[in-house]
C-alpha cells in the first residue's frame, strides 16, 4: 500500500467514533474481541467488523494467544499520519503566531 492509500485507510478508519474508542481502549493493552465488545453495547460481529477496518489500515494487529485472539494497537502508522497532519498545522500555527506579534506591534505604533 503506498503512503497515499495508507493515509486514506487510516483517516477512513479514524472517521468512526466506535473505532476511535476501540483504539483508545487498545492503548491500555491488548484485548480479545469479547473484552473489547463489553463496554460498547453493540454486537460482537459489529466490533469484529470495526477491527477488520482498523487492521486493514495497519492500526491494529491480531495475535493468537492460547485460544484467544488478542487485538493490539500498532502506533507506528498512526504516528506517521499525525506527523503528516502536523506539518500543515505547523505552517499555519507559526504564521498566525507571527501575525499575532505583528498586530501587537502595529497596535502599539498605529502608523508603524
Amino acid at each position: 500500500m503506498d503512503q497515499h492509500h495508507q493515509l486514506d485507510a487510516i483517516f477512513g478508519a479514524l472517521a468512526d467514533p466506535t473505532r476511535r474508542a476501540i483504539l483508545a481502549r487498545l492503548a491500555e493493552g491488548d484485548w480479545t474481541v469479547g473484552e473489547l465488545t463489553a463496554p460498547f453495547g453493540v454486537s460482537q460481529p459489529a466490533i469484529s467488523r470495526h477491527l477488520k477496518v482498523l487492521e486493514r489500515a495497519g492500526l491494529v494487529s491480531r495475535n493468537r494467544r492460547a485460544t484467544a485472539r488478542l487485538s493490539h494497537l500498532e502506533a507506528g502508522p498512526l504516528r506517521e499520519a499525525t506527523e503528516w497532519l502536523a506539518r500543515y498545522q505547523a505552517f499555519w500555527d507559526e504564521s498566525h503566531e507571527r501575525l499575532d506579534a505583528l498586530l501587537a506591534s502595529l497596535t502599539r505604533q498605529p502608523e508603524g
Binding site: 502506533a75 507506528g76 497532519l85 500543515y88
Partner: protein, 167 residues
Amino acid sequence: MGTTKITAPAGIPFIDIEREFAAPRALVHRAYADPELLKQWLGPRKYVMEVEVWEPRDGGRWRYVHRDGENAYAFHGVFHGPQTEERMLQTFEFEGAPGHVSLESVEFIERDGRTLVRNHSVYQSVEARNAMIESGMAEGLEDGFARLDELVERLTSQAPAAAGSTR
C-alpha cells in the same frame, strides 16, 4: 494566544482555517492587504518571503515566493471582486502543481475588538486538494475529525514505540 483550527473534510475538496486575533478588523485586514506586512508573517520563520506583486483589487494579480535555502516555492493568482475589510477573494495556484487552481476566500469578522479570520479554500477535486497539500507550502493535511488530534496525541504518548505486545 489564539488557536488555529484547520478542517479538511473527507470526500469534499475544501480546506477551512479559522483563527481569532486580538486586534480590530481594520488592522488584521491591513496585515493581509499590505504586502510589506504580509511578508512579515505568512509562512514559517525559516522561509524568506518575497512578494513580487500583490494587487488586492478586482482583477489584480498576486505572486510570491517562499525561499528556504536552495528551495523556492512560488504561488500566484488573481483577486476577484471587491477586496474589502469584510472579505477577500482570490484564485491560488502553487507553481509546483500547475493547473491545480483553488478559490480562496478570507472573511474578517470583528467581535468586541477581536477579529475572527475564516479562510475557505475550494479545490477542483479531493485529489487536487491532497496533491497541493502534499507539495511545497502545504506539506501535510489536518483532517477534520473532531477529536482526532486529541486522540492521536493520547494514543501516541501512551503506546510504546516498539511494535511488540504490551503484555
